[in-house]
């Protein structure tokens, strides 16, 4: 059986979280398919990187270590991956839906004429029957994602082309070590043999990384605002509530698009996926594009003018009322009851 591959991303010398999350998912898919899980890591100064991947069940770690592979640029990575995949013929290849994966994935899939599905929220294995062609397929990768602004959920398959490729956002899958002593092996890629001068035409002149100041993902309490909050000023109230409760402010895409909140606070399919202990949704209607990123919160309080807002269907508490009225009361009664 051909393997499941995860194209890993390196973040400050370590394997990125999203890649480890996909290793965990990849391991469970590989178990179901009874095949190997293989990781691919490209970059520079990667000595010992395989040790980060074995505990997640990597049977093989392919490593291409070369100074020309750091920082990341599209073309040399594409050349190496296409070269490797033409030899190894993986049945499935997964990448994080980061700027890295969403830059690299389509380029690789176009070169291999494989299919690629972006921003999947679930990956499953299942059969398919093509009645028109009279063909049946076993063990296809179901690539499940919301589409059309979150109004539908589509299951996408690639019946005939390999690898079946998918990107998944950080936080969507759970990261879990399968065995701290899991033993795989390393395959060293001869980068020099593959790279051609035309792969190196795009040059990174400068890059400055700013540590993300916002840390929504690890916050156990999130106060999130939607378009219904109405203004940037009203968002300040949410900030106050979040500070009082010791949480962070999140936002729906509509609120970010409207300029009420910064992009790195966006929760949902095209933003961050969160699983806090408490999620307070303020003026969020609850389109699936948003709920896909927060529905696993342990407790959800929804504040909305519309008693029929879809968010109320997944909420534990649905407060029908004005955000501008309810939020200050939450602050007031929290303070009163904790004094």
């Amino acid at each position: 059986m051909n393997s499941v591959f995860v194209i890993c991303e390196i973040d400050e010398g370590k394997v990125a979280d999203v890649s480890l999350e996909l290793m965990t998912k990849g391991r469970s898919l590989a178990n179901q398919l009874n095949c190997k899980l293989e990781a691919l890591v490209l970059g520079h100064k990667l000595k010992g990187i395989e040790k980060e991947l074995y505990p997640y069940g990597a049977d093989v770690v392919h490593i291409g270590d070369d100074e020309r592979l750091d920082p990341y640029t599209t073309l040399p990575f594409t050349s190496i991956i296409v070269n490797l995949f033409e030899k190894e013929k993986p049945q499935i290849a997964l990448l994080g839906a980061s700027t890295f994966g969403r830059d690299l994935g389509p380029r690789v899939s176009s070169a291999l004429v494989s299919g690629l599905t972006a921003d999947c929220t679930s990956l499953e294995i299942g059969p398919h029957e093509d009645k028109k062609a009279g063909k049946t397929y076993e063990n296809l990768l179901y690539q499940i994602r919301p589409a059309f602004g979150g109004n539908i959920v589509a299951t996408i398959i690639n019946p005939d082309c390999r690898p079946q490729m998918a990107t998944v956002r950080e936080g969507v899958m759970k990261k879990e070590i399968v065995d701290a002593n899991y033993k795989g092996k390393v395959n060293t890629i001869d980068v020099d043999k593959i790279l051609k001068p035309e792969d190196l035409v795009v040059k990174v002149i400068e890059r400055h990384m700013e540590k993300s100041k916002v840390n929504i993902k690890n916050s156990s309490i999130i106060v999130a605002g939607g378009y219904g909050v109405g203004s940037k000023e009203n968002f300040a109230q949410l900030q106050e509530l979040a500070e009082v409760l010791g949480g962070e402010v999140g936002a729906s895409r509509a609120a970010v698009d409207a300029g009420f909140a910064e992009h790195d606070r966006q929760i949902g399919q095209t933003g961050i996926t969160v699983r806090p202990k408490l999620y307070i949704a303020c003026g969020i209607s609850g389109q699936i594009q948003h709920t896909a990123g927060m529905e696993e919160s342990s407790m959800i309080i929804a504040i909305n003018n519309d008693p029929n807002a879809p968010i109320n269907k997944i909420a534990d508490y649905a407060i029908t009322g004005d955000v501008g009225e309810v939020v200050p009361k939450l602050i007031k009664f929290y303070k009163q009851n904790t004094k």
Binding site: T74, T117, V153
Partner: protein, 290 residues
Amino acid sequence: MGLKIVVLAKQVPDTRNVGKDAMKADGTVNRAALPAIFNPEDLNALEQALRLKDNYPGTEVTILTMGPGRAADVIREGLYRGADNGYLLTDRAFAGSDTLATSYAISCAIKKMEKCDLIIAGRQAIDGDTAQVGPQVAEKLGLPQVTYAEEVLSADKKKIVIKRRLERGVETVEMPLPGVITVNASAPDCRPRNTKLLMKFKHAKTITERQSESEDYIDLTADRPYLNIEEWSVNDIETDINWLGLSGSPTKVKKIENVVFQAKEAKRMTPADEEIDELMKELIANHTIG
């Protein structure tokens, strides 16, 4: 130093404004009820092209769109804002295309056009959010790509310097031309329509649109060739038909589910003081907060 720039633009249903009338009785999306708009990030892309035109006289900006006949609206919108001309790629043969088949058709059209220096597209379209067409067009044309662009810092006939927006910072990259750029929503907004251009291009139409006009319609394109929006069918570009539409799409839609939220009873509350007070006591008592 004029550049030849092609801007890839898509007409999309405005999925951000799905109102109640946009849902049919059976709960499916009534696409006809959604307004068709210029994909937002393609407008950011157009603005970057127009800025290059401002800075480098002799630059020509061409809009290329693929879609049904009414997608000519996107080209007109581009002309009103400063684009020079446009091409509509429209044919039943393209129906059912996934991102790869779309990219293939677009790359064939670009090959057929006058040689260009730069292709600029929005990062992604709001109806699919895939961000795949830009990089796949680049691959099909064998050109380098820079995605997540926020600003073109400088350009000459041979190379372009671009600022990219990444998750946690910015990156400045240099790419030789010709090449492909995809632009983020964090880039500057597109300039509004220009009144003079609106007057000039108000009657710009594709041949199909002109032919469906009433009898007393006067075709002005002989005197004013700029009023013709070039319309290409599959026969006007060189393609391998197997790579188009459904047959050229490796990905297939197996199943579409309309979103139905799981039934789970929420505790209904009003903003009355006693109720909020009670809620806070409850949350503190069960250690959710505090």
